[in-house]
């Protein structure tokens, strides 16, 4: 029973899409949140040496204010369009929910899952990669990153795929090390053994 609920929740998350008619509302609210965050950031500043009405954070505050205003415009536009569409809108919504029901019953499309999840995994992987760079050196971190990233993008998680990625990772990392660190003399993050 619990499994079923979980599956349903996952399905909903994967199939979650902002409907075209709600896109203005969603992006408007998102914009306002961004603007509020930006406005809060303007309180972090040091004092100015100049005597002027325009201080170091006046323009940033102005900009975040305009962003907020534009976000509000999007929200207003959403409701204005809705009202203009009038009855036609509700009818379309009804037919949509009617067709949406059998779609839920369909088994999850594997490619679709990956399309939703992959970018998030990639961001996480890159974050780990940057973190590891300082700990175990650029070359080893690159091998680690490539070994996981290539199968992730190929949507192929067999042993063979990881092995192939590992080999590519070693070759690529060594070449990068030889060209940039040795050839061009650039300083890459290194470990105790110097690579």
């Amino acid at each position: 029973m619990l499994m079923e609920v979980k599956m349903k929740l996952i399905k909903k998350l994967i199939n979650f899409e902002i409907k075209a008619e709600n896109s203005d509302l969603a992006s408007g609210i998102f914009t306002i949140i961004v603007a509020v965050l930006a406005f809060c950031a303007t309180f972090s500043h040091s004092s100015s040496s100049l005597q002027s009405v325009i201080g170091p954070v006046t323009v940033p505050r102005l900009v975040s204010g305009i962003i907020m205003l534009l976000g509000a415009v999007l929200v207003v536009r959403h409701f204005a369009r809705r009202r203009r569409a009038g009855v036609g809108f509700t009818v379309r919504e009804k037919t949509e929910t009617a067709t949406a029901v059998p779609e839920q019953e369909k088994p999850l499309d594997k490619m679709k899952i990956f399309r939703v999840i992959t970018p998030w995994c990639c961001f996480l992987l890159i974050a780990i990669y940057i973190f590891l760079m300082r700990k175990i050196g650029f070359t080893l971190a690159s091998v680690f990153y490539l070994t996981l990233q290539i199968p992730l993008l190929s949507v192929d998680f067999s042993k063979k795929s990881f092995l192939k990625a590992f080999v590519i990772g070693i070759i690529a990392s060594v070449i990068v090390y030889l060209i940039f660190a040795q050839g061009f003399g650039l300083q890459l993050p290194s470990n105790d053994w110097g690579f």
Binding site: I18, S23, S27, F30, T31, V34, A38, T42, S44, H45, S46, S47, S48, S49, L50, S52, V53, I54, G55, P56, V57, V59, P60, V63, S64, I66, I67, L70, V73, L74, R77, F114, R115, T118, P119, C122, F123, I126, Y129, I130, M133, R134, F138, S142, L146, L153, S154, V155, I168, A172, S173, V176, I179, F180, F184, G185, L186, Q187, L188, P189
Partner: protein, 513 residues
Amino acid sequence: MIDNIIMGFSQLGWIDYVLVLAGAMAGLIFGCIPGLSGSTALTLAIPITLTLGPVSAFAVFMGIFVGGCSGGCISAILVGIPGTPSSLTTVFDGHTMAKNGQPGKALGTAIFFSFLGTLVSLVFLFALTEPIARIAVKLGPVELFSIILLSLSLISVLAGDDPIKGWIVALVGVFLGMVGISKVDGATRLTLGIAKLTSGFNQTPALLGIFVVGGLFSASLAHKSNSAEVTMDYHIRGLGFKLSDLKDQAVNIIRSALVGVGIGILPGIGGVTSNLVSYTLAKTFSKTPEKFGTGIIDGIIAPETANNASIGGAMIPLLALGIPGDGFTALLLGSFELHGFISGPTLLVNNAEFVYAIFAALLLSCIFTVVLEYFGLPLLVKTLKVPVNVLMPVIMVLVMVGCFCVNNRTFECWVLLFFAFITFIFKQFKFSTTPIVLGFVLGGSAETYFRRGMMMARDDISTFFTNPVSCTFIILAIVCSVVLMRQNKRSEAKLRQLAAESESEVDVEIDDD
């Protein structure tokens, strides 16, 4: 003008000739492979060229610029998938012509008119840059602020299908560009107490984050299955086309070249937009519009001339004003700083030899690219088989090298990730991401000019409207926004219609470089 070019050539050593050739080859290969573009090649070249002198580094960049813009037509014609978005409309007639048994003619035409487009735009570049820069040097902060305002309003309206959303992302870019020390009074702001942010977000990792990482994963997922096999006989005999084919093309060629240069000059948009506009215009003014999409030569000449003509166009505001004309030149702007130059109107005054060397390198790239395309075609076609999902992660490693080397610390890698993430989130809400780039690149100077202008006028904001030059630009910004807003909607609808008519499976996406 000729003297300046000769002076430019005298700045280039023999090694620079080799570097231009290498850049052009790299640009062609990256342009040819769908999902990669000249911008990707440039991001890789930035760290490699850090240890070279500025002239050599820009020799490579110019090669990549011209090569990357030209290479897209090869996969567009032979496989039916544009190698870069700037060859999108070449697919409609180019691929159809190839399927009709004339791949050689299609390729020959595309290559030759890419070359011609670049050449025409370079003439404009050589002629216009200096006069514009001479005028621009005399402008004060009030006028410069208004010019940037005009640039931002143009990009916001033109880059996506919703001008309000365009303005939002442009302003988010402006905000991010203001982080760190203010150039006016030295006060630190918006750093949230992070000491490493004092000097602001470094441009190179930020732009790499917006350009490369954002498109990286979606591109590799989408193009997984397209390691396409080319079975056609793509050999070009002679130029590929006969001179008699060009009987009625004079107007088309001139119009496409001018459209390309003009759109290139407009800030933030380049080949991606100009090939669409040019194709649409060619069809609108044609006596036989119904033939478009059936593989006629007009439909290849129009987009390929225009997208390459945007190269010279985009370089004009970059070199004369320090305002990038498209996505690629936005990346170049950061490189000026990396190599110790101050971009803006003073660049040409203080570093004339350097600018002329760039001119010379562009001319060389133009020639090398066309030679490489005619003789290196088999090799370029082979690169179409490279699996993008393996290539992309390797490129990511190289991007990391580039970010790290900017300041020799991993903080820049985090900046890259931060900008990539922001771009990704905004894309989820269907914002176009090009305005972020322009906003970010220009935001800092816009604020500086604004504050200096206000200080000179003793905090009286009316100075921006009473100054005639500034007032003209502000009115222009408003007029352009309103006019283009309407135009934009119409052309978008037209494009979708075009795509549907030609029955090609091309996703119409105007975003991204």
